[in-house]
Amino acid sequence: MNSVKKHKISDNINLYIIDDTKYKTVYFSTHLYRTLKREETTLNSLLSKVLKCGTQKYQSMNALNIYAEELYGCIYDVGVSKKANLQSIVSSVNVLSDKYTGESCETKALELMLDLLFKPYVKEESFCREFVDNQKDNLRDDIDSLINDKRSYANVRCIEEMCKGEANSVVEIGYKEDIDSIDEKLLYSHYKNIILNSPIDIFVVGDIDENLILKSIKAYLYEFSFDIKPVLIEYTGKDVREINYVEDNLNVNQGKLAMGLRTGINIENPLYYALLVGNSILGSGAHSKLFNNVREKLSLCYYAYSRLDKYNSLMLIGSGIEFDNYQKTRDAICEEIENVKSGNFTDDELEVAKEYIISSYRSYEDTPALLVDYYISLTYTPSLKTLSQASECVRSVTKDDVLKAFENVRLDTVYFLNGKEEQA
């Protein structure tokens, strides 16, 4: 398996290098971590969009796009993501390896990735007003268009209802009602407040010259006076009192069922891998009970799956069904949850689920972005395992472990996206 090399650049700034000759590209990313807060999330989300609009060198999106094309169409982005109570602002550039271009695009791409975050286009202590206004509209569009994808809309609504008031339920994309009050000056002062005092991880994956990269990054960051306090990962999770049933009526052709469960087990819990295996037996993969029984036997749906939120001790089950089959599907899913809880699964099902998870861990190595995502979780949860250690943990899970892990699994919220009265 790939090894990752860690270099400390300065306090709370680390560089991680995964050197592998098999890729055609070099993938660079920088992750700046903030504590997820309702009052800050929209600012960070909008900031990530505005940072994409121009750097000191390339002062418009158009100029950036032209430059990216010159680098054989490198793909650059700035966005936000969330893990537990951490919101990160991520700039990334994916560029063809110099081996395939015969030009030196790699170092230019590295500089571009750093510029996007550290040297944005700024005029008189402010971001450019047109950029900010335009991106405020785009962010509103992004938030509104969540409804376009009904499957994820139902999932988001389920979690929203389930985790009302919990710190980690704040969404990383931000809130529409918080956009109006932000202007170019406020956004820039927020940027100034966070850029030098937030922990930073830099990742480089590809066939690269490690020393050169290390030297370039150190030289680049030398001019900035960082003063960074670490942020700590915190998990939430609470007990279920009674099951909460929520229904929305919208103009849709298919009902979307989303069931939220509390697992009581986060990624640092020793039972996490047993929970993962149980979740796969239940609803992750074509071997799972939801696929084979709810879809194949009962023919109720095209998809039915379960997945875990490893930070917030949640499990989410989703399916798309006829409106009239709501009760029937819900009962069928509950029956499968009970089957896993009561050990009503074969050794074969257990082994297949384990093989499935281990195989997906192995396949992370072929995709730089997935590798980086995995190693980021590692940097914030030191007790966490490398991919091969994690595979070993999965391998050693027994049926009893699954039963122990599932003891705590409780249904919390049932959300149903139903049609409007005349359709339903």
């Binding site: 055609k24 054989y72 052709n253």
Partner: protein
């Protein structure tokens, strides 16, 4: 030693190709160091093949819409009542299948037990087991798949564009059919389709990963048996050059209006010329409306379009079209602006430096495809099923010039070839 080797130095890749005695074409791209191996086994049977002469008959038949996709689902049914996924799961492999307008493909990726999985792929796709009972069960599952797409505004706006572009071509028919049309499918229909189209000479298998080509050939040789196969005769209706309707509108639960501006390309190509046209059209669309274009800048800055704006090219043996789409509050205004931009290019031509830059970026995206075993397998399989050797890319790419752009602009992106499809937000 059955393979022909083609090494492309600039890409650092080698394609191994062979034809098995059954006529099955085999393609392998070895990828040293990759954990995952991907295999895809495809047949030239897609949603557009709804009219054909069945094997052993001299009379043509028309089959219900959505039959290729239905058959794809039913291939997973095994004679012993289990399903083909089970064995893949046992090996920790991820299996799936998909049906497009022109092909049906069965695939898996795995990180261990490749030989076993590969043999299973070839053997289950060669063992149909259709019963009336398992067909009825599938109607419920696919019925929900169809409903899911009914709620997908992007799918609706794209299909409506095809309906506006085409008068008769079956590309305008939904790949999965309708709840009504799939209710007419029975086992005789499925066997008729299967026996006609699932014939090794009509199929391709592509593998990408850390594998030995010779081993792939051995497994094919041991699994695929020689039988008598007939020639496949698909019948396509005549398609007039003119579009079907200029404007089409629907409503769906979406936040902002969605649009697709489509252009019908009546000049159908085969072989290297088909690949050349696909590459050239993709470069042309980026040149006109890509992220660095004046058109994109103007309309993005004014807020008429947003980050969802994108272009698409569909070039196949039996149909060809291109499109510009995304979210927009005023799609009619945007289409007028696009048409004016096209006229301007007709007048003043393209900037040569800009063309070279976009061409370079496009080359980058081609090389990038080879970073991922799934993308490689799908690229090879899709092209080879259309009898296109995609590894000719570097040579063909180098023959595309700024003049090619002007020719295509005048030939394809004209007012009479254009349609507008809009999905408005439903209440």
């Amino acid at each position: 030693m059955n393979f022909i080797k083609k090494h492309i130095e600039s890409l650092g890749e080698t394609l191994y190709s062979a034809v098995h005695s059954t006529g099955l074409r085999i393609f392998v791209i070895p990828k040293k160091g990759f954990s995952k191996t991907y295999a895809v086994y495809g047949t030239k049977f897609g949603s557009i093949n709804n009219h054909f002469v069945p094997l052993g008959s001299d009379k043509d038949i028309t089959v219900p819409d959505g039959v290729a996709h239905f058959l794809e689902h039913k291939m997973f049914e095994q004679p012993d009542g289990s399903n083909a996924f089970d064995l893949f799961s046992k090996y920790g492999a991820n299996a799936n299948a998909f049906t497009s307008f022109t092909n049906t493909c069965y695939l898996f990726s795995c990180t261990k037990y490749f030989d076993e999985c590969f043999e299973h792929l070839l053997s289950y796709v060669n063992k149909p087991h259709f019963t009336d009972e398992n067909i009825e069960k599938e109607q419920g599952i696919i019925g929900q798949e169809i409903r899911m797409y009914d709620d997908d505004g992007e799918w609706v706006v794209m299909f409506n564009m095809l309906r506006a572009l085409y008068v008769n071509n079956p590309v305008k028919i939904d790949i999965a059919g309708t709840v009504e049309s799939i209710s007419q499918i029975n086992k005789d229909v499925l066997y008729n389709c299967y026996n006609t189209y699932y014939n090794p000479a009509n199929m391709v298998v592509a593998v990408a990963g850390d594998v030995e080509p010779e081993r792939i050939f051995e497994i094919v040789d041991k699994t695929i048996k020689n039988t008598e196969y007939g020639k496949v005769t698909s019948i396509y209706p005549d398609e007039p050059e003119a579009v079907c309707q200029k404007y089409i509108e629907a409503k769906s639960l979406v936040a902002k209006p969605l649009f697709q501006i489509g252009f019908k390309d009546n000049n159908l190509k085969t072989g290297s010329e088909l690949l050349r046209r696909e590459i050239a059209l993709k470069i042309l669309l980026r040149l006109i409306a890509g992220r660095s274009s004046a058109f994109f800048k103007e309309n993005y800055d004014s807020g008429l379009i947003n980050d969802t704006f994108d272009t698409d090219v569909m070039t196949e043996l039996s149909f060809s079209c291109v499109s510009f789409g995304g979210e927009c509050d005023n799609p009619k205004e945007l289409k007028e602006k696009l048409m004016r931009t096209l006229d301007k290019f007709r007048e003043i031509g393209f900037d040569k430096a800009e063309f070279e830059r976009i061409k370079k970026a496009f080359y980058g995206s081609f090389v990038r495809t080879f970073n991922n075993v799934e993308s490689i397998g799908n690229l090879i399989c899709r092209n080879m099923l259309s009898d296109v050797d995609v590894m000719e890319f570097p040579e063909i790419y180098s023959t595309i010039t700024c003049d090619t752009m002007t020719e295509l602009l005048n030939e394809v992106l004209t007012e009479e070839n254009s349609v507008l499809s809009v999905v408005l937000p439903a209440e």
